[in-house]
């Protein structure tokens, strides 16, 4: 990664913390109460108020000062305590994170695992079947994830076993993803198959499938990998619905409970975590793309 882009990403990370801090400032109530939880003892609140620079009116500690204190806490993943059960937000997030990560990982796996072969098949298919498949894909893409999840629940599949539930939930979540990847892949492959080197390969007697697998796929995979970076937030946000419907205890259900209970510390911790996860994911994707194709050095 060049120094310039690293700097830009650092700025973005700082921007994310500022945005989250602004959300915190928007929250009704006192930040000290926010951090310690409702009904915590008065001395502790007073001590924290001093620490946060809130003593003697709202502007005793400047906004910048409060931001830095908050940043210090957040860097240690200290998001305060939940209003509801008084446990550390960090702990509650840590409990919920694995489920969501696993769900997202499985969904990404299904998305690419189904989307890439689908794209290849469509690139090789005849015009007629491609048009038919296009209609089917448009219909599949329009089906809301939430509805799909409810329909699968109605079909009765995944009660009981948690692993089965997870896989079915991931399939739901992956649905719009693999359609999009498939489309993307087809377009990229068609461009690659129309190129001069593809014609040369054909002239040496390679079959269309061979040209595709040996030559075109390598070129066409790259844009699909870059798609990973832009799909990550969508996966995280889709998991909220899917988790709620399938009753999985992940970040999404944690967030919904927090909204209903007005549990601000949990909500803000969740917002920060979501943004940081996305940030880390896009960074990873960028590294991956550079590793796959050294020509991308911009």
């Amino acid at each position: 990664m060049t120094a310039r882009s690293a700097l830009a990403r650092l700025a973005t990370l700082i921007g994310i913390t500022v945005a989250t801090f602004l959300l915190l400032e928007l929250a009704p109530g006192d930040p000290a109460d926010l951090r310690l939880g409702r009904g915590s003892n008065v001395a502790a609140v007073a001590a924290l108020r001093t620490e946060l620079g809130l003593d003697g009116g709202h502007d005793a500690g400047s906004v910048a000062q409060r931001y830095l204190t908050w940043l210090g806490h957040s860097l240690r993943f200290d998001f305060g305590r939940s209003f509801v059960d008084g446990r550390a937000v960090r702990q509650r997030l840590a409990e919920a994170l694995p489920t969501t990560l696993l769900l997202g990982f499985l969904a990404a796996l299904f998305g690419w695992g189904l989307g890439v072969p689908l794209g290849c098949a469509l690139a090789l298919a005849r015009d007629r079947s491609r048009r038919l498949a296009d209609v089917a894909l448009s219909l599949a893409y329009a089906l809301p994830t939430a509805s799909l999840a409810l329909i699968l629940l109605r079909a009765g599949a995944p009660y009981g076993d948690r692993n089965v539930t997870l896989v079915v939930a991931a399939l739901c979540l992956a649905m719009p993803l693999w359609v999009r990847i498939g489309r993307h892949q087809t377009a990229a492959l068609k461009t690659a198959l129309a190129s001069d080197w593809a014609r040369t390969a054909r002239a040496t007697g390679a079959s269309e499938a061979q040209v595709l697998v040996r030559h075109a796929l390598r070129h066409a995979l790259l844009p699909t990998v870059t798609l990973l970076t832009s799909e990550l937030p969508a996966l995280l946000s889709g998991s909220v619905l899917v988790e709620q419907i399938f009753g999985l205890r992940g970040l999404g259900t944690l967030g919904i409970d927090a909204v209903l209970a007005r549990d601000y510390p949990v909500l803000l911790g969740l917002g920060t975590l979501g943004a940081v996860l996305t940030f880390a994911g896009t960074g990873l994707g960028e590294v991956l793309v550079r590793w796959l194709d050294p020509r991308v050095a911009a």
Binding site: P144, L150, I256, A258, L270
Partner: protein, 308 residues
């Protein structure tokens, strides 16, 4: 889908969103009660007319679905969560409200939120995108702002916003969705405006001393409009999905408002009966399909991006 059919369906959906009362209402399209002629009382809801006046009416032309989307039926428990009957073609929900009527009126919430939020997002996106294209220092900052915006997973941000704000009105839901969608549009506008910036006509404009504002409005803006309209069409599909998702989670428009997501929520709460699950699913699916297809039609051949 044929282009004409697509536009007809889109206009129909819009018409339904503007006046669902013409299709589903407890008041009629026209009636004569006690010698007074009422025209379109379902739209105007005159104070002197009541649904119970039907028995005294000499002439009563009802709407195709003669039920109010919000009227609850308290007599007889049999009407609560009833499967489709000849009286209630799509059955009733847990408060005895007609599902067909709620479905029709749900179009309004879906499209008002869907289109409204994307228009707000487009305005923000245009301002930020054009601003970023015009000046380098501004670009350094605005690009970071866009990236920060893109980093928040939409539903996470919506949860935080709805959680912090507490009450949720239709306008707030619209604004919240706009707030999560504008960075996508801003990024698109920035890219397109920068591309236009390199064109000879902009150089010429600059050479004759046009101000940056003039260049932005007259020479860059037109080049962003076509990609923007494509992205808007796709965006409306996303916004409709988001709104239904929020309503499903109980964070959408406040309770008596009929919305498709709320029907799904009822379906979930009531053990997924078919008449509560399929109608909203098909309605959402149809609108999303329509918007996505419009987006694809608006997009020039050979372009594959511009979607959200």
């Amino acid at each position: 889908m044929k282009r004409a059919l697509l536009w007809i369906l889109a206009i129909l959906a819009l018409a339904l969103a503007l006046c669902p009362e013409l299709v589903a209402s407890d008041l009629p399209l026209a009636c004569r009660v006690d010698g007074n002629l009422y025209l379109f009382p379902s739209l105007t809801r005159p104070a002197t007319l009541d649904p119970s006046d039907r028995t005294r009416a000499t002439f009563w032309l009802g709407t195709p679905i003669p039920h109010s989307p919000t009227a609850q039926r308290s007599n007889g428990m049999t009407e609560v969560l009833s499967p489709p009957t000849s009286r209630h073609l799509l059955g009733t929900d847990d408060r005895g409200r007609d599902v067909a009527a709620r479905l029709v009126h749900g179009t309004r919430v879906a499209l008002v939120v869907g289109i409204g939020s994307m228009l707000v997002a487009a305005l923000l996106g245009l301002l930020v995108g054009l601003g970023a294209a015009l000046s380098r220092p501004a670009d350094a900052i605005l690009s970071r702002v866009i990236e920060v915006g893109l980093s928040f997973p939409t539903l996470f941000l919506l949860l935080v916003l709805q959680g912090l704000r507490g009450s949720t009105s239709l306008a707030e839901v619209t604004l919240a969705i706009a707030l999560t969608q504008w960075p996508h549009l801003a990024r698109l506008c920035r890219t397109e405006a920068r591309r236009a910036l390199a064109a000879p006509h902009v150089e010429a404009a600059r050479a004759i001393g046009a101000s940056p504002l003039r260049i932005a409005v007259f020479h860059l803006l037109p080049f962003t409009l076509s990609p923007l309209s494509v992205a808007l069409a796709f965006g409306v599909a996303q916004a409709v999905l988001l709104e239904s998702g929020l309503s499903l989670l109980g964070l959408g428009a406040p309770p008596p408002t009929p919305s498709w997501g709320e029907l799904l929520q009822q379906a979930q709460a009531a053990g997924l009966p078919a008449w509560l699950l399929w109608p909203p699913t098909l309605a959402i699916g149809l609108v999303v399909l329509l918007a996505n297809q419009l987006g694809r039609r608006l997009r020039p051949k050979g372009v594959s991006g511009w979607s959200l």
